[in-house]
Symmetry: C2
Subunit: 336 residues, 2 copies
């Protein structure tokens, strides 16, 4: 896929932006607005919004009908990002300081809470709002629980009594899939479903586009994990998951399977250390890289990607169907 | 009003509890449930829920129809309490450690976010859900903005760049009323309106019960402020608002009007000090107590309370109407 292909998807998704910005100004005093709009000033890639729009079009609906539903899905994403940065003390997002850094934690929390109310306004504006609301609320609950599981898979660094008491120190790959399914794939699934609803599609199309988003989301997350640990340069901090003590990373979990008992204990010890030095980080990465973890993860991701595309087979041939296939490639190809 | 009168209201409001507890368990894995239910284990006084139930009954509706709407209003209240404790680092609520103390800040945030989704489920379950949703979302936005104003009226203690840049250091009483109207009175207003909707009441009854709640809420907040600064013992920490640098307190704002320029500057200096010593606190309270602030605040609160009761005049005589009048007394009489 050419860079111009990506640009096309970004343009598609960004059609949701004016809808979001308009909704943000409703019921907010003028002094609050700069805090509310800051996060949307730098446009994200809006891949989820693009997925809604293309899913609608590929299901036979008009693109214009998908813009507001795309705004709903994009709003869920951005609400969860601002909250996520509060939980992880995130400092940089999309190359800029996060809302919490620029405004402060208390205001960032109020901004995110306000986003949740704006989300309600956006849903209420939709014609088929009951279906979308049901999907949105279910997805939000899943994202919240996925975040909880992600935190439980952290092996150090937090003092929350609940996390220390319930920490998952020996996760299976099934636990991992449960976590990323909720935290990441559920919203891509929602994107496919909501796009299909916008086209008034029949249930089997809604389900197929949901599966498409779900599988693409899983593929994306597995690749994101691999790039974090094994990638040379992704524009992000290297091996951030190890620094953040996260055992909920596909590459680490698969590497653990292949390591000797001694190495396995050492890798787990590094991930569970309160402070991970540069040397420890280097050691951990070299241990993972000695195993076939990267190759296995790429195979897993490619399998999910194939599944995603295969689920499109129920759709009639169209340029939009082809574009959905390209979009899945694009989502998986980049870590963003 | 006798203590048994209060107990009656508490019992009325607590009818909403099983509805809330049932809704909390939907879509939540069993390991998450203890964190979700902790906050509801100690029952609050549920005055807002009681207001919904009595408003419905006084407007001619059946009490049973008001239980679910009461759960909605009570859920908004508790969502905002858990978030509020995160913002204010609150440690004790209803005589017990707060959710954030028992579970940790990250999990408390996820718990509150989950409450917001449960709120949506509760609204969706209502027959007249469009009206209730509209009121609920408007009220939530107001509560969020009221919290923002409350933070802007704090004169020290926070490092949030947004707050330092936008701090309100010379508030008028109008600014104060805007803040408490949004932060406190709006939800009491919603309680009256939602109760009226549950009774399928005509618009003028909805508005009258909204005004009743609004005025009762203002009266409650002004009395709460007075008790904080001037009260001898309310079960709460004394003069917490001064310790928390809050200029958004009716008694302080009115005292400032009566003090000499020198004393005014000193009181403002104490409220704006990064660390308020016991001696400074004593000095501040004695300055306020030298003015007629307490008397004036009590007069303001009594005026609001009268207005609240007067707005009930459109209702037909009934024991429920009388009970609403008693409930307003009860809401104002106690700081909770």
């Amino acid at each position: 896929m050419s860079p111009s292909g990506l640009a096309r998807f970004i343009r598609l998704g960004q059609q949701a932006d004016p809808v979001i910005l308009d909704a943000l100004s409703r019921g907010a005093p003028s002094e609050f607005r700069p805090a509310l709009s800051y996060h949307f000033e730098v446009a994200g890639k809006r891949m989820r919004a693009a997925m809604v729009v293309l899913s609608c079009a590929a299901a036979g609906g008009r693109v214009e009908r998908a813009i507001k539903p795309a705004a709903v899905v994009e709003m869920i994403h951005n609400y969860s990002l601002v909250m996520d940065d509060l939980i992880d003390r995130g400092e940089v997002r999309r190359g800029r300081p996060t809302v919490r850094v620029v405004m402060g934690d208390s205001i960032a929390l109020l901004v995110a809470m306000f986003y949740r109310e704006v989300l309600d306004d956006l849903i209420e504006d939709l014609p088929a709002n009951r279906n979308v609301r049901k999907v949105a609320v279910k997805t939000m609950k899943e994202i919240i629980d996925g975040e909880r599981l992600d935190l439980l898979l952290e092996q150090a660094g937090r003092t929350d009594p609940y996390l220390i008491k319930n920490r998952i120190s020996k996760p299976t790959f099934k636990t991992y899939l449960d976590m990323v399914g909720k935290k990441t794939a559920s919203l891509f699934k929602a994107a496919g479903q909501v796009g299909a609803y916008a086209a008034n599609a029949e249930t089997r199309i809604v389900n197929a586009l949901g599966t498409y988003g779900w599988k693409a989301g899983l593929a994306f997350q597995v690749m994101d994990d691999v790039l974090d640990i094994c990638g040379e340069k992704t524009g992000k901090q290297q091996a951030k998951d190890i620094i953040e003590h996260k055992l909920g990373n596909a590459a680490i979990l698969i590497a653990l399977r292949f390591l000797s008992r001694k190495d396995r204990e050492e890798l787990k010890k590094i991930v569970g250390s309160e402070r991970v030095s540069t040397q420890m980080l280097k050691k951990a990465r070299s241990m993972v890289n000695k195993t076939p973890a990267e190759r296995e993860c790429r195979e897993i991701a490619m399998k999910y990607l194939e599944d995603a595309k295969a689920s499109l087979s129920v759709l009639k041939p169209s340029p939009f169907k082809d574009a959905l296939s390209d979009l899945a490639d694009q989502v998986v190809a980049r870590s963003y």
